[in-house]
């Protein structure tokens, strides 16, 4: 995964709270052995009508929202299952960042591993951003700041390691494997019988 240090985009708004991973990608689309191609099923049951045509009222189907890379979502986004298919589907849909006042633990973890930045702001700030979804937001990963065109600056918390990984495209598996001597020592110490 290549690193990146900034995101510039207008936003798509989903006001619903507690959007769970079964809404993000329903279980019937998990029978795949691939990571790719899940974007077409992202928010499947909200996005497509029973006859397979797009639901015109759903945010991601609206023409002005096409190509937008930031999702502003209601509180407790991504709760539910540990399926990494959820961030795979959202990244495949073209999203680069999710902004909410609370983002579920496992989903947040999974997102960071797939170049999808979870940003937690105060509820009032998320609400304020939702008022102006057409503004091009500027997310500066190095500074951990989200900036609006009218000059407001929202700092957000981001683990230092996660920040480095995103910016430099650090590969976590490689990082762990580089700790092999420590792992060997641990096993020798704890599993000697």
């Amino acid at each position: 995964m290549a690193g990146f240090d900034c995101i510039r985009s207008a936003s798509v708004v989903l006001r619903e709270t507690n959007i769970d991973t079964d809404q993000i990608i329903p279980a019937r689309f998990l029978s795949t052995t691939e990571r790719k191609g899940l974007g077409q099923h992202a928010f499947n049951d909200w996005r497509w009508q029973a006859d397979g045509t797009p639901n015109p009222g759903f945010a991601f189907n609206q023409p002005h929202n096409q190509g937008r890379g930031i999702l502003l979502a209601g509180r407790n986004f991504g709760c539910g299952s540990s399926r990494e298919h959820a961030p795979w589907a959202l990244a495949d849909l073209g999203l680069k960042a999710i902004v909410s006042s609370e983002i579920a633990d496992i989903f947040r973890n999974n997102s960071l591993k797939n170049g999808l930045l979870p940003i937690v702001l105060d509820e009032a700030d998320v609400q304020a951003l939702m008022q102006r979804p057409d503004d091009e937001l500027h997310i500066d990963i190095d500074a951990c700041e989200l900036r609006t065109p009218d000059g407001r600056v929202y700092p957000f918390p981001l683990d230092a390691f996660a920040r480095t990984c995103l910016m430099q495209g650090v590969d976590e598996m490689g990082y762990l494997l580089a700790r092999t001597p420590d792992i060997d020592t641990y096993e020798a110490r704890h599993h000697a019988s």
Binding site: T17, T33, D45, E84, D105, D159, L176, R179, D182
Partner: protein, 478 residues
């Protein structure tokens, strides 16, 4: 071992964490945490193996990895041709892919022919792979179940499944701690499922986010292992990273019978270690919650997340925000009405929450000499081959069939509706599983989460019913 003189009191979670740190965490990097037991299943592992292969790696400790197939597997027996009816070619391919990966790397697999196969969170405790003091992970959020044994057990994503395969380790930031203390005796007709639904109703569907919960108090101590598993299983539904109960005599007795737990002297030695696994007197938790068992009534959910839990005879609350309104509309319910009396189309008993032997027994007790209401389709799905065998040895399958319910082969089934076992659009299901999200049990399905007693009693009456009103039957001698 090092001396522990001036060490401050530690929680059970602190002890488990300390014991598994390979490289401590710092400001710039998370800890490297060792994983004792890695469980895998067909849905969340294939992409991890692909990644491993692409890098020319092999699993570091295939001996610490155990595999089963449960999510995509059919719950109807094989046809006359010996073939299983998979819901799709993709589902069958997933199962085959797991078998190939396990064969290639020497990972023990409980496959469709195995007498020990079943839902991952049912079989690992049953076989005794799950032990106190361990770190246990699986690409599955209900891994929290194993915390019932005093293990640190949590769900991970598929990238992390790859990390554990490659290194037997994970990158982790230490979670915060939450103590939930439940004191007192539970009323008749109220069980572990009602306790955990009540707790989630109290702390909220995100009340545990960032925390590891330790369940404590006399009510928890009085629970058997299966009840403690039901409790810990749903910790994730409150957003918690994990849930745990300190091991005690009840835990040791379970493990003494489990085939793959330590035996003989090894068991005695392990037991002495396990006895250290409790929060020290005076240990500090970041959050403490007290629950009075007397406040817990049979509890179900009315909405589209597990935090919408209310007592069976309580009114559905007023919708005070857009989300609650949307939940009410989806469920076709009205504020102010009680759930009790609501007509039911489907009853599902099973899943890693309530698919164990004690759950099957409770259901059989209710269905014995009774009939499932003609309006209701009822599916009873044992959590494992062992649960199925034991239940059948006790005649439970006969009671369930005689009542007009379906007795199926083990698997996740209607809990996640990946294998073709579905609730039809618009139908209302009372389910002993753990998630009532929109469409969880099939597109358009509406789900009320409930205990096995509530589910079985609803099946008999064709309506949501209060299990405290189940007439007591005198024990019959077979």
């Amino acid at each position: 071992m090092s001396s522990v003189e001036s060490q401050p009191p530690r929680t059970l979670f602190d002890k488990l964490w300390d014991n598994h740190v390979v490289v401590p965490e710092s400001d710039s990097a998370p800890a490297v945490l060792y994983v004792d037991l890695h469980l895998i299943h067909e849905v969340t592992s294939p992409q991890a193996f692909t990644e491993l292969k692409a890098r020319g790696l092999k699993p570091r400790r295939p001996d610490r990895t155990k595999a089963t197939m449960d999510h995509s597997t059919p719950t109807l027996p094989a046809g006359a041709d010996g073939k299983l009816a998979y819901s799709s070619a993709a589902a069958e391919n997933q199962v085959d892919t797991l078998a190939r990966n396990c064969a290639e790397y020497g990972i023990e697999l409980f496959d469709m022919q195995s007498e020990s196969r079943g839902i991952v969170h049912v079989i690992a405790p049953e076989l005794g792979f799950t032990q106190p003091g361990m770190t246990i992970v699986c690409g599955d959020s209900h891994t929290s179940t194993h915390g019932a044994f005093g293990a640190l057990a949590f769900g991970i994503g598929t990238s992390e499944v790859g990390h554990v395969l490659a290194s037997q380790c994970l990158l982790q930031r230490k979670a915060r701690t939450m103590a939930i203390t439940v004191e007192g005796e539970l009323a008749a007709g109220v069980g572990a499922k009602d306790v955990i639904l009540h707790i989630i109703g109290v702390i909220g569907v995100n009340g545990g986010t960032g925390h590891v919960i330790e369940y404590r108090g006399s009510t928890i101590r009085a629970m058997d292992m299966e009840q403690r598993m039901t409790l810990c299983n749903m910790s994730i539904e409150a957003g918690a990273r994990a849930g745990m109960v300190a091991p005690d005599e009840v835990t040791y007795q379970w493990l003494a019978r489990a085939p793959r737990a330590p035996k003989g002297e090894a068991f005695t030695a392990a037991r002495a270690q396990w006895a250290q696994l409790r929060s020290d007197e005076g240990a500090r938790f970041d959050v403490e919650v007290a629950i009075d068992a007397a406040d817990i009534r049979p509890t179900l959910t009315w909405g589209t997340h597990p935090g919408t839990a209310i007592a069976v005879d309580a009114p559905i609350p007023a919708a005070n925000d857009a989300a609650a309104q949307k939940g009410l509309e989806y469920m076709q319910f009205k504020s102010g009405h009680a759930l009790e009396g609501t007509p039911v189309d489907v009853v599902f008993v099973g899943s890693c929450t309530n698919g164990r032997l004690s759950d099957m027994r409770e259901v059989a007790q209710v269905l014995d000499q009774r009939r499932v209401h003609p309006r209701v389709r009822m599916l009873v799905v044992p959590g494992s081959e062992q649960v199925k065998r034991q239940a059948e040895a006790e005649g439970i399958d006969a009671i369930i069939r005689a009542a007009g319910a379906e007795w199926r082969e083990p698997g996740c089934s209607m809990c996640i509706a990946m294998n073709g076992d579905l609730v039809a659009p618009g139908q209302l299901a009372v389910s002993t599983s753990n998630r009532n999200f929109e469409g969880r049990q099939g597109p358009g399905s509406r789900t009320l989460l409930a205990s096995p007693l509530s589910a079985a009693w609803a099946a008999v009456n064709g309506r949501v019913s209060d299990p405290r009103r189940i007439p007591m039957q005198t024990q019959e001698v077979a």
